[in-house]
């Protein structure tokens, strides 16, 4: 109902005071299609990477959670190969914890947090999860590799630039999206349990 006016307000807030390490903008004209980027946190295997996300706003927003997924491949127990994220805030109760008082900004922050602290007990990717639990070094290694390969820009200093001007990166990340999408379609769905 209040969707559009609320989205406008949210965008405004996102642009005026974005959460640290997060940026979000409208994708094209669409009022229901957003893009976001999350910068990998320090001291995480994702450090230095910039991860693009796609955000779809459902018709019934904010009474329904936004649909978010990673566009940039990420090696994470709670994010599958298609970029889908297992996060309670992205689901409606009773399974999830979405509520209209949350917003895109807070959810993105939650995702950022999830990146820093995976939840292996609610895995989407079972193998990564067990790796995370029992063989953390391997996990860290792989996650770093993935970050290196997919999320870090080749240019020196890009990372910093990314924080300042995320827009510059959208092109790059969009280039990466293509192959990923094909890959995604082949992924089999996995329950987020």
């Amino acid at each position: 109902m209040q969707r559009n006016s609320r989205l406008k307000r949210e965008l405004q807030m996102l642009s005026t005071e974005p959460p640290p390490g997060i940026s979000c903008w409208q994708s094209g004209d669409q009022m229901d299609d957003f893009r976001a980027q999350i910068v990998g946190g320090a001291n995480t295997p994702y450090e230095g990477g910039v991860f693009g996300l796609e955000i779809k706003i459902p018709e019934r927003y904010p009474f329904e959670p936004p649909k978010m997924r990673f566009l940039t491949p990420i090696y994470h127990p709670n994010i599958d190969n298609a970029g889908r994220i297992c996060l309670d805030a992205l689901k409606l109760p009773p399974k999830g914890a979405w509520r209209p008082s949350l917003n895109i900004s807070t959810v993105l922050t939650s995702i950022q947090l999830l990146m820093a602290e995976p939840n292996p007990d609610d895995p989407l990717m079972a193998d990564i999860s067990s790796e995370f639990k029992y063989n953390k070094q391997v996990y860290l290694e792989k996650a770093r590799n993935w970050t290196e390969k997919h999320a870090i820009q080749k240019n020196d200093g890009q990372v910093k630039a990314a924080e300042k001007a995320p827009d510059l990166f959208s092109k790059d990340s969009s280039r990466k999206r293509e192959p990923l999408k094909e890959q995604q379609s082949q992924q089999s769905k996995k329950p987020c349990l």
């Binding site: 109902m1 209040q2 969707r3 559009n4 006016s5 609320r6 406008k8 307000r9 949210e10 965008l11 405004q12 642009s15 005026t16 903008w25 409208q26 994708s27 094209g28 004209d29 904010p62 009474f63 329904e64 409606l92 109760p93 009773p94 399974k95 914890a97 509520r99 209209p100 008082s101 917003n103 769905k189 329950p191 349990l193």
Partner: protein, 751 residues
């Protein structure tokens, strides 16, 4: 930073015009809030319940005003027609019920449609249904060509019951058509009268008690568990769906003879239908065994012979009206009657229903063929008498006052009644207690026609969720020796032949009964489908619903399919029960090809008590059904392929879109149950005052302004009334602290 959100768009022109648009929008928004805040409590509720508020900023104040006016007018009209309605003038009730045919205009979409030809496509219907889901009681009617339809929905605010019915009349002539519509309206009015308005938010009333539940569909609840029980049990487990298809052919001679299927859920000790009943009668042209006169496009085996006999219908709206009354009042009668009957032995809840014996193939296939009738008769004996009694009532109906009225009403005089197709859908929630036993889909069909001399008493009592009655029936049928038990109450009805054919699968989660009565060309098909919702014990309320709804709709479709496809489909469905041994009921349910596999499976899982993810359903949903045809396809496809349904005919009919509707809205249904309107209304509200600290509604992220109406939840969090109401209608927790709002409201439901 104004334009920052448009950063991507660049063009200055664009942003300029956009800004202007935004400004205009802001103005409208402001106006909206003012409007909402100036509404009186009643008006607000009225508008909300009718879904007229729209989005802030998208509707001008004038528009809102007009709508309000229309609603009010409609409500008054309704109240005027029905004196009794005025007695219990709950705004939502009168508003909802009055929203029929002529008063349709007040709903904008409706008006549009009404102007043009009646919605040949189901869109209106969909819209309407959507509205209904949120608003509760509504009625709509319309006509197209020589068909008129009427849809009524009823929601019981306090119980979760939900009824929905469709009625399609095929008129012989246009002239008749008019009458028809009028009649429909009249009926409607009666509805209001007979059915107490949705419980008014009176503080004194106990929203969640049976009382409330009974209110709306008086017919269905009588047997329900005592209020105390209801209160104790909180979570609805089962949804019941009753589909009544009543193609009624005009009785050649007297009207009374025509079967008026009444749906009388037998007293069900166990069924603890909980909160929520919506009844939506939606008359839709469907390929149903509407005794197709020229009008019916249906493939159904038409009683052609009858045509010659057709007489011009001389019924006046008034008469009609009486009839409606009687029909409604009948249910109680039936119950009374039943009471008089030897009480069926109560079946202990824990008792697992006997696995129903596989019905002989021929029976199902034959549902339409006459040859099979004899067979059915034979089987009758096997049926447990009591069960039978419970479901069918004795031929000589004790003339209830209301009933007597009916014949007098002139139905008797009127020779002809246009064929009517009626679809009645009831969704009831049953408490967890009965979980195990009823975790099955049961569908039954019963039909009966009785030629009562002066009272047309054909009442069909569909087994209500009552475990006792249903189980008894099922058990009896099972005992009958592995055949669907066809029952022809030869003894009782005497002149009238009852051909009831039913086969049920217990436990398996799928039970269905199909019955047909054919008498002097009068046929009635009634199908009741009971779909228990599988409950995920820990998961909370939400999950089961979608499955239930989904399978429900499939059942409906299936049912119709069967009706229209005669034997093919019938035999098809019969396979499942047959195949299923007593031991593997759930499999049987699955096998029931007619029903979509997913639905069946879900049910099976439920019966097993194993929680299932909704994944499967999702997937099924994934295939969006853009068109009626598609919908049909999916429905069938999910299960197994059935005989070709003549989609050309049905596809364009609104009916199939129902499936669409349900499937598409699955997500919604997935959500946890929200509060009832009454419960919401019981939460305190206040107006935002200047002195209040600056606060923002966290739903719409808008700051409160002077005069905004706020609602305060038990946890002290406040929101705009219209914001939080919407959330609470689907959820039961505070958006900020997630504390359950229900915990307080539900228990001590009264203020």
């Amino acid at each position: 930073m104004e334009g920052s959100d448009n950063a991507e768009q660049g063009g200055s022109d664009q942003s300029d015009s956009q800004r202007r648009r935004q400004l205009a929008r802001l103005d409208r928004e402001e106006a909206f809030y003012q409007f909402v805040n100036n509404l009186s409590e009643e008006d607000y509720r009225l508008m909300r319940d009718n879904n007229l508020l729209g989005n802030p900023g998208e509707i001008t104040e004038e528009e809102l005003l007009t709508r309000l006016q229309q609603v009010k007018d409609g409500g008054q009209r309704a109240a005027g027609t029905t004196p009794s309605a005025s007695a219990s003038p709950s705004p939502s009730a009168s508003a909802g019920t009055s929203d029929s045919g002529s008063s349709d205009e007040r709903r904008p979409e409706a008006a549009e449609l009404e102007d043009g030809a009646e919605p040949p496509n189901g869109d209106t219907l969909l819209d309407w249904l959507n509205t209904v889901r949120r608003t509760g009681n509504t009625t709509r009617s319309g006509h197209r060509g020589n068909q008129s339809w009427r849809a009524v929905s009823r929601t019981n605010p306090s119980s979760g019951d939900f009824r929905f019915s469709l009625e399609i009349n095929i008129n012989r002539s246009l002239a008749e058509q008019e009458t028809q519509t009028e009649a429909a309206v009249a009926e409607q009015a009666t509805d209001v009268a007979t059915a107490p308005a949705p419980a008014p938010p009176a503080p004194a009333e106990e929203p969640s008690t049976t009382e409330a539940a009974e209110e709306v569909p008086a017919q269905e609840v009588p047997a329900e568990a005592p209020p105390e029980a209801m209160e104790l049990e909180e979570e609805p487990v089962v949804e019941e769906l009753a589909v009544i298809v009543e193609p009624d052919l005009s009785p050649p001679v007297t009207r009374p003879a025509s079967p008026q299927p009444l749906q009388v859920p037998v007293p069900v000790p166990m069924s603890v239908p909980v909160p929520m009943s919506v009844s939506v009668p939606v008359p839709i042209p469907i390929a149903i065994p509407s005794p197709p006169l020229q009008a019916a496009p249906v493939v159904v085996e038409p009683p052609q012979t009858r045509r010659g006999v057709v007489r011009p219908r001389s019924r006046s709206p008034e008469q009609r009206r009486t009839r409606a009354c009687t029909a409604r009042s009948r249910s109680p009668h039936a119950l009374d009657r039943m009471d008089g009957l030897p009480p069926a032995p109560p079946i202990p809840d824990g008792l697992p229903p006997l696995p129903p014996p596989p019905p002989p193939p021929h029976m199902e296939g034959s549902s339409r063929t006459r040859q099979h009738i004899p067979t059915r008769h034979v089987t009758v004996e096997t049926i447990d008498p009591q069960a039978f009694l419970a479901t069918t009532y004795s031929p000589e109906p004790p003339p209830a006052p209301a009933q007597e009225e009916e014949p007098a009403g002139g139905e008797a005089g009127a020779g002809r009644r246009p064929p009517t197709i009626r679809l009645d859908l009831q969704v009831r929630r049953v408490r967890p207690g009965e979980y195990r036993q009823r975790d099955s889909i049961a569908s039954r069909t019963r039909s009966r026609s009785q030629p009562a001399s002066n009272t047309s008493s054909s009442s069909v009592s569909s087994s209500s969720g009552s475990s006792s009655s249903s189980s008894s029936t099922s058990s009896s049928s099972s005992s009958s020796g592995g055949a669907g038990s066809g029952s022809a109450p030869g003894s009782g009805s005497g002149a009238a032949g009852h051909n009831t054919f039913l086969y049920e699968t217990e436990q398996g989660g799928f039970r269905r009964t199909f019955s047909r009565s054919e008498r002097a060309g009068v046929r009635t098909y009634i199908s009741t489908i009971r779909i228990p919702i599988r409950r995920i014990s820990d998961a909370g309320l939400g999950e089961a619903t979608s499955v239930a709804l989904q399978s429900m709709i499939r059942h409906i479709l299936t049912g119709f399919g069967e009706l229209s496809y005669f034997m093919d489909s019938d035999s098809d469905s019969s396979d499942s029960p047959r195949a299923s041994g007593p031991a593997e009921p759930s499999d049987a349910a699955l096998a029931a090809g007619a029903v979509s596999a997913s639905g069946g499976q879900a049910q099976a899982g439920g019966s097993g008590g194993a929680p299932q993810t909704d994944e499967r359903d999702r997937d099924v949903d994934g295939a969006d059904l853009p068109t009626g045809t598609a919908a049909a396809g999916v429905v069938d496809g999910s299960g197994r392929t059935r005989g070709p349904i003549s989609l050309e005919e049905t596809g364009s009919l609104p009916f199939l879109r129902l499936a669409h509707f349900f499937l598409l809205n699955d997500d919604d249904e997935d959500q946890p149950r929200g509060l009832t309107k009454e419960q919401i209304d019981n939460l305190s509200t206040r107006n935002f005052g200047e002195s209040d600290a600056l606060k923002t509604c966290s739903v719409c992220i808008t700051e409160y302004a002077q005069g905004h109406k706020l609602r305060k939840l038990p946890c002290s969090h406040e929101y705009h009334v219209h914001c939080i109401d919407r959330w609470l209608s689907e959820n039961s927790t505070c958006p900020i602290c997630r504390r359950a709002v229900l915990a307080t409201t539900n228990r001590e439901s009264v203020v």
